[in-house]
Amino acid sequence: MTTATVKIEETAIQDRPILEIKDLAITFTTGAGEFKAVKNAHLSIMPGETVAIVGESGSGKSTTALAAIGLLPGNGRVTGGQILLDGEDIAHASERRMIELRGSHIGMVPQDPMSNLNPVWKIGYQVRETLKANGRPDGPDDVARVLAEAGLPDAHRRARQYPHEFSGGMRQRALIAIGLSCAPKLLIADEPTSALDVTVQRRILDHLEKMTTELGTSVLLITHDLGLAAERADKVVVMYQGNVVEAGPSLELLRNPQHPYTKRLVESAPSLASRRIQSAKEQGVEAADLLVPAAAGRARDEVLQVRNLRKVYKLRQGMGQSTDFAAVDDVSFSVKRGTTTAIVGESGSGKSTVAKMVLRLESPTEGQIIFDGVDTAGLKGKELFTFRRRVQPIFQDPYGSLDPMYNIYRTIEEPLRIHKIGDAASREKKVRELLDQVALPQGTMQRYPNELSGGQRQRVAIARALALDPEVIICDEAVSALDVLVQAQVLNLLTELQSELGLTYLFITHDLAVVRQIADHVCVMEKGKLVETGTTDDVFDAPQQDYTRALLNAIPGASLLLPPAVA
């Protein structure tokens, strides 16, 4: 009897979408003229439904979402179409109306938990002002309840802490608490977990899903990760260059993409089902094994050996006392010439510290790093200089690792100049060759980093690393900041360069899907210790440790079988 009435009510409500976007166009006015960021966007979200917008950066997905909550940057405005929130067109609503709607009707969970909480206010204060602004009870118990619901343990105490005392995952929970604190009908989640580790990501998304289901909140999820969208959303909307090119139920759309862009997106999405990118493994390594006599060759073959590596930091505890913290604890592995070894783990697992020690940017507390038969700890002066030439890094953030004041030519030429290789003319020739190798046009030379896209910048970083003809390249999260399509291009480039130049890669990453695509060997790290090593296939097909299994399970879309990737 009661169920029947509820049913009727539900259908009555479900007649009308909570959010409907029709023919939306958004234009930005910049110094260089007008730029249409969104040309034609349309989507609708029913009550309680989760809809994901998928697309690369610059596709207009975030702009569309920001327009729905009236937060377009100052130079952007809606130039066409409608945004209907529960039937009311808010595309041109007054600021006063938007302030009424924000928080109580539309909530937002932003992308980067590190920068979205004000560092100077306590967490509790930032929750309380949200409750207060939307006319909800805002006592200490209410604040603690909101935080506790978002899965923060010990909420009363946590509310009295500052954001910098929280980990990334906890901050995102606090932001989710804020976004849902006034039980909005619609929650806009803009890449809510892309800055977090996979395992944390999974827990947070699970929790978000549980909360929105309980509250009956509709979710507009913005993501570049197709696997994540498919796993979490009822419907997926694909955006490309400001247009919605395809929309439909998640699984259907991914199994049977129609638009060419969606097809490319599905193909290049790294997933568990994908395989090592060709060439190096099949040809290079086996050829090398054939050439070198097995027994004698093995030892010489190992270009890099890490033995019982330990790095201890002193943590200050106040009052002049300190405790030891082993960031890296008894780690041993070796890397064969011409292969790729990946070190995976969550943040804080010590993987980047290993990379720094291999690069000799940090010195180990204990243990050895043998490069080409020589312990790197003993290198000084000239020998160290030569070592630097032979081992080169590529870092995560292509925005931060290129000097904004150097043009691309100078960036790539600098290592050659420092190592006094060739004269001006031959260096210029070399830079041209390098640009060819990384598939950048020659015209790039005179441009500056801020004029290039993320993918182009990472290509420049690769060209710079290759300038000195190194033997080993350490890639510290080298593709983590890139969109999937660009990521696939860069990974392909790295693989080609490996087979052409016989490079050895040490790949530091938290992204297991990338590992599957590029690595021959995998080392899994947890809390400073190496918990599992093996060939990529072994580790992925038959993980031995619970931790490795947890990491594998946490990959978004792991449970989905995508036909193009399997085939």
Partner: protein, 308 residues
């Protein structure tokens, strides 16, 4: 926190010794004989010169002079200057005047600089912003002695709004004109610093999130833009207070303020080592304490900063 403050205060000792030594040496090395200068064109008998040299320890080598100075300092006996005035009394007379002037100037530049800076920042690119920017550039470009004389003439003499010179009767009201002149230059810097800081913070992610929470515009500005923007401004103001206390020789000269700048200039000209060093010693203390206060204020504004 207490440990931190104690450590900072202990730092005063080497800083104090270093600066007094340096200043003492520089006065010692000044060309000309201060005693001969006291008598101008007249030639006093040698016995008088010797007696004076002995009284001020000028017949001793540098290290002995410096040592005697330190000894006197720690026994709280600053001695007398060349006009037989106790130096301690001089300090007690000039520092309150300059402190008043400095605080008044600081309040003027802080209040108006922050106010104008915030409004310019919030209205970036609009008419108010552009006007304020150009005006502040003019203020920065005009030298203090020009500004000082113009203000003295216009507001002091022609309009008669304030006293053109201060003289012996230094109080808050009489110091208003020199305080405005003194505050104006830094006012322009405070304004620009605040403006830049506000613009930067307006685009911060947490400000967008605050708006998304449903907060009203005034609340977003007050709680999320203003406090964060004040961090660099406070640093600048604190460092500036030390500078203002050092005495504004030009401004104090124009308005005849009997403060530190005036006295210091006089003492340097006369080669009065003990007076110069005594003033500088107090200034060192003022600087150190001002910097400590800035650091503490900084930690209060930004909880990420914690001192041990």
């Amino acid at each position: 926190m207490t440990r931190y403050i104690i450590r900072r205060l202990l730092q005063v000792i080497p800083v104090f010794l270093g600066t007094t030594l340096l200043v003492y040496y520089m006065v010692f090395a000044l060309p000309g004989d201060p005693i001969a200068a006291l008598f101008g064109d007249r030639q006093p008998p040698q016995s008088v010169i010797d007696a004076l040299r002995n009284q001020y320890n000028l017949d001793q080598p540098f290290w002995v002079q410096y040592g005697l100075f330190l000894k006197n300092l720690f026994t709280f006996n600053l001695g007398v200057d060349f006009t037989q005035q106790p130096i301690a009394a001089t300090l007690a007379r000039i520092f309150p005047v300059t402190a008043m002037l400095a605080v008044e100037a600081l309040i003027i530049q802080a209040v108006f600089g922050v106010l104008f800076g915030v409004f310019a920042g919030l209205r970036k690119g609009k008419l108010f912003d552009s006007t304020v920017l150009v005006a502040s550039l003019v203020v920065i470009a005009v030298p203090t002695f020009v500004l000082g004389f113009v203000f003295q003439l216009v507001f002091g003499v022609q309009l008669g709004w304030a006293r053109p010179t201060v003289g012996a009767s230094a109080n808050w009201g009489n110091l208003i004109l020199p305080a405005v002149v003194l505050g104006l230059v830094s006012f322009a810097y405070v304004l620009r610093l605040t403006r830049t800081s506000v613009i930067e913070n307006m685009n911060a992610d947490y400000v967008r999130t605050a708006t998304a929470k449903g907060l009203s515009r005034p609340r977003v500005v007050l709680a999320h833009i203003l406090r964060n923007s004040m961090i660099p401004v406070v640093t600048y103001l604190g460092a500036n207070l030390g500078g203002l206390m050092g005495g504004a020789i030009v401004t104090e000269g124009i308005f005849n303020v009997p403060g530190v700048g005036n006295k210091l200039y006089q003492a340097v000209q006369r080669g009065e080592g003990p007076t110069v060093v005594a003033i500088v010693s107090v200034l060192v203390l003022v600087f150190v304490v001002a910097n400590l206060l800035v650091d503490l204020l900084y930690a209060w504004l930004d909880p990420r900063i914690r001192y041990e």
